[in-house]
Point group: D2
Chain length 257, copies 4
């Protein structure tokens, strides 16, 4: 039997500023990565997003980012390992405040944007993040790019880890994502995107832009919560996965070390 | 037997900016109010301050403030009750992250600056804060100005509350502090300051600027951690209290509902 | 001949966050109040908004606000007169940077949100703001609520001032706007809103909720740039004003001391 | 005749946080680089620092930095060229607001910290900054590390540029500063530091850690405004330079294209 988690970034509104169609996308995903006030999100948004996730019975994750609201956490910053550890503890703690007051349970942690990308390749940074997650709660699941340093660091640290794949991105032979600067970085055709994911899940293989197959682990698929076709694609991929006999389930319910 | 807690604001440094002589003042106080990144403090400062407080066996409190680093949380802001609730949960949660990772236990919550002063008089705001503290952990002790709406709200909410007094401030007949704009607001003489506190503790009375005595509850005394004479005064008051037969103890060890 | 300026807040997007339909609303208004990075706006947004305003030949104004992005500058804060002066100089200067580099000329200054409302009633604050505007450039036009302390302070300071009215708000007998907390604060009917404005312009009168007429000055009308019907209303009011023989012109072209 | 400018970073306090001994150091330097609210500084600090610089007849410069108060602008961030251009225009404009209101004249621009270092090596970034400076005012002097891309970009843009050297840092054969991570990065001996600078000025040569001499341009020397020995060193270097027959003068008074 094939099981996979479907995750989406959420709670990225800030004050009067709104981003994302959280209410709608929650009907489709099984895990929500909730922004913690650094790259996006504010206390009220965090609380409401936790409440909505609980209503929809969706697994709740902290989504810590770089302290860069103006850049939405997407601009790499040269932070030290200690700063990374500390800002991850801070943000998980803040979100946990709302999870606790709302009677929920924190399921996972997924670093956001540049922090996620940096931690995919930078071993000391990856280890600092993994240690922060572990120190807050060793039962948390750490999300990282499939095959990344972050997944390795989480594993070494003794955490449960979730290997994440992207349905709408092409892969390089070394397992990395094709840079968005390349013309063939994105898969815009929904059918092709879903085919890639289903093959990853069933065969643990992905076809690279170098025209080769490589092995890939998949525990969770990332989909987007804003943009024109976000809801359409969420609807499309959940249907297609189910029709292929793949079960959608929150990561915390099936992941093991 | 007379027991009192001695508290001080701490961890108010930010990045390369340093405020307060935390390391020295920790030798004297029994409770530390640690800034949570809103009016002051940053993740690394928070972690280190928690570590130091644990080393000195000092009770650890969250010190949530208004989101106003430029004004050090001292400028009243017209926030809603929901915003107050949410920003208090956020900040307690963030500090709790470090208390948990460092193996400590959060003892209390004391709002900072303008939030503390506003909550002394504004019942709905006081209730929102008390509810936030209770919802995070009903065992936390809530600090408020002696006789304030905040202490009342904490009591009604079912929290343990600590009535705080100031050794270096004069009191009005209605139990409020004399405004800092008044010439007689401050007690600069150490001996006189300590006499006022000892009388508060032993007789539950304070002499007001209107030349009358009023009743006052005292569970904790606030002292300052920066300024020229901060360490001298900390040394002076702790000696004087002990010589008067008053026991200094962390609030969590003796407070009851 | 009747002349009036039509102004709208603009450039209030921030990083990846978008607010307002600036591009469309610029076709209708004669003056643009551009956010300066405190309550909203960021450098890139400021530059682009200045560029667009110049393309549409719309008068450019600085729109300084309180340092409260999370609250969109709408939460009153207890700032000192010096802080008000300094933050207004800072924000006008920053916007002027872009006006200068883009080859334009700064026409006016309109404080935003809570700062605008506070300055309507608080004389020392109003004077601090007027002095800041004057000190940066005595030729700037200062916008204030018709009949407000801000308009008076600007006048006393020797600035040209623009009395602003709202088409969609009801008025009190003392010339103030009915609080948004009251059920009859808003005029939602477009026809009624425009009728009120046209009478203000032609007769210098407005009918109050106390069922009396009061005198009112009008140099500029504020319309909104976001919300469902913003563009419809902009279209409706500009047509109606022109059909009534009222000329729409940028404030800088017709205002005198 | 030998002339040199002596510059120091200033106005880096923020709210209640104080850094630097500006008042004292202003007696020694000929140019002040004033923080603009991004990496440090706030409107009131900026105004007061401009006032003090004018009192001491010291050349005033804008000191724009990365938007990273927590990291004091020292953490490299991956910003785009457009973002760099815009944040430099914004910050120069903001400081110019105070220079204008205080009746002064802006003399120069020196990027701060990581922005300065990044612009030393990154040509497109250097060009974006030089263009921003030029577009605000083509008469401004642009400060850059001697031999850097920033000085080259300023020159190409048609700006007057000032080549900056450090008295207390050692140099590599390629003209770059020895990384602070290396043990021999700093020159802590005052006499040796001043000897290096005097030779740079008189012979346009510096001895590198590779034991070779290289050519170097010197228009301005950077000294530090905080730390134990800052004032002592300022006193020492100004005396030594004068005794060597070197004239200290604000860059604007002697620099030519």
């Amino acid at each position: 039997m094939h099981i996979v988690d479907l995750n989406c970034d959420m709670g990225e509104s800030f004050g009067r500023y709104t981003i994302g169609r959280d209410e709608e996308i929650l009907k489709y995903v099984t895990s929500a990565n909730i922004a913690c006030g650094y790259h996006a999100g504010d206390p009220t948004t965090m609380k409401k997003t936790v409440q909505r996730a609980l209503e929809h019975n969706v697994g709740i994750g902290a989504h810590p980012g770089l302290p860069d609201l103006a850049g939405f956490g997407r601009r790499p910053m040269d932070i030290s390992e200690e700063e990374a550890y500390d800002m991850v503890v801070y943000q998980i703690g803040a979100l946990k405040g709302f999870v606790d007051t709302e009677g929920g349970r924190l399921q996972h942690v997924k670093p956001h944007g540049a922090l996620f990308n940096m931690a995919a390749k930078d071993q000391p940074l990856a280890r600092a993040i993994a240690k922060a997650v572990y120190d807050v709660d060793p039962e948390l699941v750490l999300f990282g790019l499939a095959g990344s340093e972050l997944v390795k660091a989480g594993h070494e640290q003794g955490l449960k880890t979730a290997s994440e794949v992207f349905s709408d991105r092409t892969y390089q032979q070394d397992g990395s994502l094709t840079s968005r600067r390349e013309p063939n970085a994105l898969i815009t055709d929904h059918e092709q995107a879903v085919e890639q994911v289903i093959r990853m899940i069933k065969e643990n293989k992905v076809h690279t832009v170098q025209d080769t197959d490589i092995d890939i682990d998949v525990h969770t698929i990332c989909i987007h919560g804003d943009g024109e076709s976000a809801i359409d694609f969420a609807n499309y991929i959940t249907k297609a996965l189910k029709e292929s006999g793949i079960t959608l389930q929150s990561i915390g319910e099936f992941i093991t070390k």
